[in-house]
Symmetry: C2
Subunit: 214 residues, 2 copies
Amino acid sequence: MEFSERQARIVEIVKSSSPITGEQIAAKLDLTRATLRPDLTILTMAGILDARPRVGYFLKEQKESSPIMEQLRLLRVGDFKSLPISVRENISIYDAIVTMFTQNVGTLTVVGENQNLKGMVSRKDLLKSALGKTDLQQVPVSIIMTRMPNIIMTTADEPILDAARKLTLHQIDSLPVVEAFIDEKGEERYEVIGRFTKTNVAKIFVQIGTLGKR
Amino acid sequence: MEFSERQARIVEIVKSSSPITGEQIAAKLDLTRATLRPDLTILTMAGILDARPRVGYFLKEQKESSPIMEQLRLLRVGDFKSLPISVRENISIYDAIVTMFTQNVGTLTVVGENQNLKGMVSRKDLLKSALGKTDLQQVPVSIIMTRMPNIIMTTADEPILDAARKLTLHQIDSLPVVEAFIDEKGEERYEVIGRFTKTNVAKIFVQIGTLGKR
């Protein structure tokens, strides 16, 4: 359970003096009701608080986790991932940028034999190299890519919530979706089978949100 | 209500022969149960279908819209927006790229007097100009920015669901959050008061998802 500090204080207040109205909670925190609205909404959606009209907020009995959450955790990366767009590590930075535009993606996976993950290149990486004196046509993408083992990855069976948390926590736009395998030398490798991006998260959010409206 | 074609077919099947199990729906569509899982989960979360163990899926009575949706629609852009990072239109492309790195953002708003919105510049725009023969130090950002009236905007009171749909529909990473005003010549202008990005959407998604877990 990850509370913001303010959300934790709201839960404490409701615990000690429920039922309590939004206005009363706001007064105790020296904030306006409007400022508190998103926190109260999120705590209610997550099944932590419940609200009765004209009565106020109270802590929800914790018989089970909220149904929204149970459902959300059933959604897996493999069900929503996009196709990976991969290049080889000897491709020039220039050609990597061109590939990004022709394929309309923001991140490329750099792979070896058998789609074996070697690196990741983002628009940010490419832009940084364009800023310098680098000869974009000559320098290979391997020079600027993020390499193993510094790559944040996901797998097809990871819940999308956990993958989305990796994206926000590490401030990246895209995760490679991989399957681990052991190569002929007995070393662990990762075959790239997809990509999971902030765009995928936004689409899932919109899809869940839009279906209910009628 | 925006169904994918497959989701619409699932609803039709459930309508004509409920209760029906996931396996039976999959058989009618010539798909595996695993392939169907995300669609069934989303339709259930959105309050369109309901499922009873050992019985199967049936259409949910539509007394009201789903509680998830009602709650989601209460969340507004103004409660979750980030601070805008703005530059003037005579700044060089080079300095715009540097600003992006120092401020750690993916999109800049280009403004005139009174934070009046003139344009938007994304990493993609800057990368495209870096690919050409453009002198990044000499050419102003106004040459490559997306201009009014082609800018997709949002406002503080827009539901985040609608703003998220704009992001996915128009394939952009960031929306300027604006307030309309009338300038001294009587023309409508837009003051930039924030930015709303795919990162904001991913954070909201993670926050809602994580709070319920215990």
